[in-house]
């Protein structure tokens, strides 16, 4: 059998890859892709804990389903905002879209 810690290690690695994507990319859509990776890593964690610790309660799977729903809503809104920014400024480079910075 696969020990639980292996699933947690894979989820941690995927999460850190997502953090690297968010911090090291200049394109806003690429940053959103990093956020999706982080959300998937968290979901893998949730489902692994559900399977190994409490498989007859449905709380783990329900929690993961809610993370799915929230991730879909957030991606839709984020991409709509990026498209709107692109229409106004012709760029989605986050280094240039910094009007609210000090």
């Amino acid at each position: 059998m696969v020990p639980l810690s292996w699933y947690l290690i894979v989820a941690a690695i995927l999460f850190c890859v997502g953090v690297f994507g968010v911090l090291a990319r200049r394109n806003a859509v690429a940053i959103l892709m990093g956020i999706e990776l982080m959300l998937n890593a968290v979901n893998v964690n949730l489902v692994a804990f559900w399977r190994y610790l409490e498989p007859d309660k449905m709380v783990g799977q329900a929690f993961a389903a809610f993370v799915f729903i929230v991730a879909a809503a957030e991606t839709a809104v984020g991409l709509a905002l990026i498209i709107s920014v692109y229409r106004n400024r012709e760029t989605v480079d986050v280094e240039n879209v910094d009007l609210l910075k000090w």
Partner: protein, 167 residues
């Protein structure tokens, strides 16, 4: 090395490699394809964990909707020059070191505990039916379920409005 462990290694390798390609690829469309590979790997991990509903939902929702949305956004926000600007190599190195430090922190916290080597119990045979019932049971999760559907409707109407053509 049992078959299950070999399959686990294969799928997690696909997942992590897809994720790495997503965050490294210069061409954004290639990065979106790498994201799709990573999401498919996560769906396979769900199937290994006997969460069959979540595996199917992952393929349908993430790959079938979210990844397609991301590809649309990539195509709609192409720069005029077609080249994607990158940060300088010094920033990349510092970011990579910070992310490795975060990974070290996560792994040391993880290894403090004694996690079970095998699953404590078997998944009940009707787990999908139980999940469905728990989402509409008044004493369980019907409230978050309804709130989540309102959230989705609001988010999609809002994003359709924000991204509409203003001519």
């Amino acid at each position: 090395m049992t078959t299950l462990q070999v399959m686990f290694f294969f799928f997690s390798l696909i997942t992590v490699a897809g994720g790495l390609y997503t965050v490294i690829a210069r061409n954004l469309f290639h990065a979106a394809l790498g994201l799709i590979v990573s999401l498919a790997g996560v769906a396979a991990l769900y199937a290994l964990l006997e969460a069959s509903f979540l595996a199917a939902a992952q393929v349908a929702i993430y790959i079938g909707a979210i990844a397609i949305l991301i590809i649309f956004a990539v195509m709609l926000t192409r720069g005029v020059t077609g080249k994607n600007p990158v940060k300088d190599w010094w920033t990349y190195t510092i970011t990579a070191i910070v992310c490795l430090l975060l990974l070290v922190v996560l792994l040391t916290t993880l290894f403090r505990f004694d996690w079970p080597q095998t699953a404590q119990a078997a998944v009940p045979a009707d787990s999908i039916a139980r999940l469905g019932k728990s989402l509409v049971d008044p004493s369980l999760y019907v409230l978050p379920f309804e709130v989540a559907s309102v959230l989705l409707v609001a988010a999609l109407i809002g994003s359709a409005y924000i991204a509409r053509d203003k001519k």
